[in-house]
């Protein structure tokens, strides 16, 4: 168990700067999820921690040791790959015990550890099979087993659930969460799926374009996104954005005319982006309302997502399941001004307002 | 930028010259060894002929026994007449008959027969075309033995000028070792180059300029001196051997027919030396040899001997001493190291050192993995090839390599007499025909059999597959010899079959088309299994669903084959066909061993012809140019097919 610290880390491929100036402090026992769209540098960062990529600039420390030039085998980390990377010519048992055998562990100890890991993951009766005889979910467990038996200081997960079907993904997500509860090992997890991030992480690191956009607990990111990117990335369905300007003491934009939310009392930049989450639209009006035309309805049972159009801008609103609304209809929805967000349009940074009351 | 390119070009030219110098000096040494051995062989043959013409008094045997003492380089010498060794430098061997069981005896007998055959062919040729300047078929045989020794064989003629036997001499010239002074200079130059590599730019540039100047001077001086030096040393040694022969009282009178020798002596019945007419001696050579002196026992003193319009020079000094005085080695190494130093200097002056070094260290694992193979291939494949290409620009006349520029290429490519079977374009046509026929047959048969075998319900298909691979497994030179036997006119199996069926037996090696077919049949036999295996593999990787879908869509057997099987086979077949084409184009063994180019070289393809030019007609430069042309044809072909099919593009990812 150890902490992982990155200080001003850069990664360059030729002239291409893939990771820029990342500094992260991951505490001992933390579960940190690196999340972001494809190409944002999260996998590269993970691989730098693993030792599979060289660090162009900056320092990486595991525990108190600077490990920039330490090879992966000496970093005491274990990794679960997206494609599981099981050795096809070895049985499950051999796969799991490979790393232990390399470290010259006594056979009795190996058998004990393999048995324990197999029990925890429920793969004990698969031990003598070869990977090609296993299903996707089973293979994923074997990959995790291989990482667990090493009892490393840090677990690294590289999009482990991306290759599974939806139902299995939900199942395995729970398994990973349970495993973490049990072992409490420092974990760094990479995914592009914000749902995984929200459900598994103690802390989320949102990345885009090689830069850290924001670090924080899941709900903190949800409630107080630092910029439009994080705001639009976290939360599903995604936040709606409107381009507005302050005019006559109100926020005005295309199809939008709202009072300035009371939280934002100070001076505001001239050009703003207004962010409203789909769940913060209300039927029944209110202090601020927006008129929109319903294009598509997605009845999901517990809620109804209405994909609407506000003068050319696509807007999603989440409504109660029994809301009476039809496609093509024009409706007027109220906006919960307590929970909207304002961002400086040029810098995309959030405008700070007075802290909210607990939502 | 301009300076860099200029320096790079200069470096390349320097390297080429260095290689040429290298080739030339090696060639000279070898040529010298050949000439000496041949001279001695001819001397022996002439002596024997003289002895037989008069009263056989055993002088040939005495000469042979004395030779190893007079000329230490001689290892053995013999005269073969018919089936019997009539004289031998080892007395216990003299007088014995050749034995059927000894392989070396068999080889000797074959040599004698070959020389005899060549001689009679030459007679025919000269009768046909009296204006012939050179004998088209070599009447002497020079074979290299391992360790630098040379075995020279010359024909023994009787007084009707018919070849009745063979005189064979084995000589081993001691090859020189690297002169130490040159080594020291070389190390010094390399050390300087390394210093430049790491020095700061401010030092590197002026130091580099100094080094460049030094090398330029050294090179110019060496260039002007080395050819003389080499020519001199070779001549010295040749003349020394001649002198030794003269001492032994024997010199072939027809030595003057061979150009580029300086001089020769004869001794008449009264023991007086007499000179032999010189041909093709150039002024510069005379100037060189005048500086040396010598005495040959009882010859009245003085450097030059004249009688009438004949002149001869005597020269002295041991072979090794001459070589030590020679600067050719130094020039060689100066060239090479100069090239290296220039290259490094250019890099240093342009400030690329750091980039190069960091690229090197950051990839050192990769380079480490790659290095052993590259070094091995560098020495044993690349250098010989470059060497070979350089050889193509030289011309080996009997004695020396000479820079010949593009004359070899011109000679090969500008001969437009298409009807002659010796013509390059004719052979090109034959080669294309050969390659095309073979590849089509290989693919046709291989694919056909593979399609038959690609049947889940066919029992015993495993057995067929294994058995049909056998032709590929058998060594191809064995296959060639077997098929050659099968096509034998009188005793071959093929003619027996024809006879059994009632057809006329064919003289397979008598004319072009039958001979060509023997080659194609043999190569097809051993070539189709490869295509069969590749096709089988590719066929088995086509998913069945495609056929089922097509079947449901209503496609017929033929349509399924045309639209599914064939297109999906292409990715695997195309590279195999390309490889097969290159292999067939260069398939030496079959042509050489089955038809042997019969009749009269007509079925020779380019590569066997190149071989013959090198090893049977002794024109190494010509053969090297020939081979380079072959290589360029293939290179062009590969690049072309790559562009069209993109076949190897994936492999470059």
């Amino acid at each position: 168990m150890a902490s992982v610290t990155l200080k001003n880390v850069f990664k360059r491929y030729g002239d291409n700067l893939v990771v820029r100036d990342i500094s992260l402090e991951i505490e001992d026992g933390d579960f940190v999820v690196l999340v972001g769209p494809s190409g944002c540098g999260k996998s590269t960062t993970l691989r730098m921690i693993a030792g599979l990529e060289d660090i162009s600039e900056g320092t990486l420390s595991i525990g108190s040791r600077v490990v920039n030039d330490v090879s992966p085998r000496d970093r005491d980390v274990a990794m679960v790959f997206q494609s599981y990377a099981l050795y096809p010519h070895m049985t499950v048992e051999e796969n799991i015990s490979f790393g232990l055998k390399l470290r010259k562990m006594p056979a009795a100890e190996i058998t004990k550890r393999v048995g324990e890991a197999a029990t925890v993951l429920g793969i004990t009766d698969l031990l003598s099979r070869k990977p090609k005889q296993l299903s996707g979910g089973q293979r994923q467990r074997v990959a995790m087993g291989r990482a667990i038996v090493r009892q490393p200081a840090v677990f690294l997960f590289d999009e482990p659930l991306s290759n599974l079907d939806a139902k299995l993904r939900v199942q395995m997500r729970a398994e990973i969460a349970k495993l973490y509860q049990r072992l409490k090992t420092t974990t760094v997890y990479v995914t592009h799926d914000q749902t995984e991030a929200m459900t598994l992480a103690k802390h989320i690191v949102v990345m885009s374009g090689g830069i850290v956009q924001q670090v924080g607990a899941p709900l903190d990111l949800y409630r107080a996104p630092a910029n439009t990117f994080v705001a639009g990335f976290i939360g599903s369905p995604a936040m709606n954005f409107f381009e507005v300007e302050v005019s006559d003491g109100r926020l005005k934009g295309r199809g939008v005319d709202l009072p300035i939310p009371p939280r934002f009392s100070g001076s505001l930049p001239a050009q703003l982006t207004l962010g409203v989450r789909p769940e913060h639209f209300r039927t029944g009006g209110g202090a601020g309302t927006v008129r929109m035309r319903v294009d598509v309805l997605e009845p999901l049972g517990a809620i109804v997502n209405a994909l609407c159009d506000v003068e050319g801008v696509s807007v999603t609103a989440t409504l109660e399941p029994d809301t009476r609304v039809t496609v093509g209809e024009h409706i007027t929805l109220g906006v919960d001004l307590e929970h909207v967000h304002l961002f400086d349009r040029a810098s995309t940074r959030a405008v700070a307002g007075a802290p909210r009351a607990a939502a | 930028m301009k300076l860099g390119s200029f320096a790079a070009a200069a470096a390349v030219i320097t390297l080429v010259f260095a290689l040429l110098a290298f080739a030339q000096s090696e060639g000279d040494l070898r040529a010298h060894a050949d000439t000496s051995a041949l001279l001695v062989a001819r001397a022996v043959a002439w002596t024997y002929a003289e002895e037989q013409a008069g009263d056989p008094d055993g002088r040939t045997q005495r000469l042979l026994e004395a030779l190893p003492g007079e000329l230490p380089a001689v290892k053995s010498a013999l005269v073969l007449k018919g089936n019997k060794i009539v004289a031998h430098s080892a007395p216990d061997q003299a007088g014995r008959s050749l034995s059927q069981d000894s392989l070396s005896d068999k080889a000797l007998y074959d040599s004698a027969q070959a020389v005899k055959a060549s001689a009679s062919k030459n007679v025919e040729e000269r009768e046909r075309d009296p204006s012939l300047k050179q004998d088209p078929y070599p009447e002497v045989e020079i074979a290299s033995l391992p360790g630098g020794a040379v075995a020279a064989s010359a024909p023994v003629r009787n007084d009707e000028d018919r070849v009745v036997g063979l005189a064979r001499v084995e000589m081993a010239e001691p090859l020189p070792t690297l002169p130490y002074p040159a080594l020291i200079v070389l190390i010094g130059l390399i050390a300087m180059a390394i210093f430049l590599f790491f020095a700061r730019r401010s030092i590197a540039v002026p130091a580099g300029v100094v080094l460049l100047l030094f090398i330029a001077v050294a090179d110019v001086w060496a260039l002007s001196g080395f050819r003389f030096g080499l020519r001199r040393s070779v001549t010295l040694a040749t003349a020394q051997n001649l002198g030794a022969l003269a001492r032994a009282g024997v010199l072939p009178p027809d030595v003057s027919r061979r150009p580029a020798l300086i001089g020769a002596l004869g001794r008449d019945a009264h023991g007086r030396m007499y000179p032999i007419e010189l041909v093709d001696v150039r002024p510069v050579d005379r100037a060189m040899t005048r500086s040396a002196t010598l005495a040959l026992g009882a010859i009245p003193g003085g450097e030059r001997f004249e009688a009438g319009d004949h002149e001869a020079w005597f020269v002295e000094s041991s072979f090794e001493a001459a070589y030590d005085r020679d600067f050719s080695d130094l020039s060689r190494w100066a060239f090479l190291s100069g090239m290296v130093a220039i290259g490094l200097f250019v890099m240093g002056a342009r400030g690329r050192i750091h980039a190069f070094w960091s690229a090197f260290t950051s990839n050192r694992t990769a380079y480490g993995y790659l290095a052993p193979a590259m070094v091995g291939m560098g020495i044993l494949v690349f250098v010989p090839v470059v060497f070979g290409i350089v050889l193509g620009f030289t011309d080996r006349r009997y004695n020396v390599f000479e820079f010949a520029g593009l004359s070899n290429y011109v000679a090969i490519l500008s001969d437009f007499d298409f009807t002659s079977t010796k013509n390059f374009y004719f052979k090109l046509g034959v080669t294309f025909l050969w390659t095309g026929a073979n590849v089509m047959l290989h693919v046709g048969i291989g694919l056909f059999i593979a399609l038959l075998l690609n049947d889940e319900m066919l029992r015993a298909k495993g057995i067929y597959r294994v058995l049909l691979v056998v032709p590929w497994a058998i060594p191809n030179y064995i296959t060639a010899l077997i098929w050659k036997g099968m096509f034998h006119k009188q005793f071959g199996a093929v003619n027996f079959f024809l006879d059994a069926v009632g057809l006329e037996p064919v003289a397979w090696f008598g004319s072009f088309w039958p001979a060509f077919m023997t080659n194609v049949a043999t190569n097809t036999w051993l070539g189709f299994p490869f295509m069969m295996v590749v096709s089988l593999g590719a066929l088995s990787s086509i998913p069945n669903d495609l056929y089922e879908a097509a079947f449901v869509d209503g496609a017929s057997r033929w349509q399924r084959f045309k639209d599914i099987t064939l297109p999906l086979l292409m990715p695997a077949l195309v590279p195999a066909v390309i490889m097969g084409t290159v292999w067939t184009f260069n398939m030496f063994n079959i042509i050489y061993l089955v038809s042997g180019g019969a009749p009269d070289g007509a079925t020779d393809i380019l590569i066997t012809d190149a071989f013959r030019w090198a090893f049977e007609r002794d024109k190494y430069g010509y053969a090297a140019a020939y081979s380079t042309i072959i290589f360029l044809i293939l290179l062009f072909f590969t690049l072309l097919t790559n562009k069209v099919t993109g076949a190897t593009k994936g492999a470059f990812e």
């Binding site: - | 790659l370 193979a373 067929y464 010899l481 990715p571 190149a610 990812e653």
Partner: protein, 283 residues
Amino acid sequence: MSGSVPSTATTSTKGERALKHAFLAAFTVAVLYPVAWVVKMALSPSQGFDASAIPIPTNPSLDNFRHVLFELPFGRWLLNSAIVSIAATALGVFLACTSAYALSRFRFPGRTAAMLSFLVTQMFPGVLMMIPLYIIMDYLHLLDQLLGLILVYSATAIPFCVWMLKGYFDTIPKELEEAALMDGASPALVFWKIMLPLSLPAVAVTALFSFMTAWNEYILAAQFMGEAHYTLPVGLKMMVGEFSSEWGHFAAGAILVSIPVVLLFFALQKNLVGGLTAGGVKG
């Protein structure tokens, strides 16, 4: 059932199968005829040709074999060939493996040039290299030394082997190696325990090709080796001279020489298809 199955590309009707068997059997017999002929010659005591095309010897005897094995230095030739072929195969395949691994897994300046050079050297006509090779080998004092042949054979085998092996290595996912690295394997162990076991078909095929090339090579061996170091092809060729031939002995020798390679072929032929299609023959 069999009659109602439609013939697709991989199934056939009974009638079709019968036809196929007839054709294939006849074809196989025709193809193997020369082999039978050689066997007949080997077992017939005369040295000329037998006046019949039937491949059955009239008075079979092992005389030819006896002569070849005991009266000619066959044992020495065999030893020389074996040493040279095995060593050249081991060396060539090893060097090719490491090079192919580097070309497959690493990206570095000069990589394309290296791959191009491996491709292009396969096209050199051997004749072009023979004279310069002779001179170089002489300089290195490797003429008439088995080591010289070994080095030349492995060097000439490398390009083809690298090409095939690299293609095969490319199909192995890089994550497997990364997982092994994470598990604690050193790069060398990754190569030995992961890459190689998974590449066995391709390695087997390249080893087979290298061995065959070395075992069957005639010209270079004839030029470079003296009598004490003759390999099997050179010895065999001497029996069929230009003007005098001993066909019986030659046939016996040919059979003895071919057996090892044919056996090797059979042993590895399962891998032949896999190695060829996934490797260099890949489109």
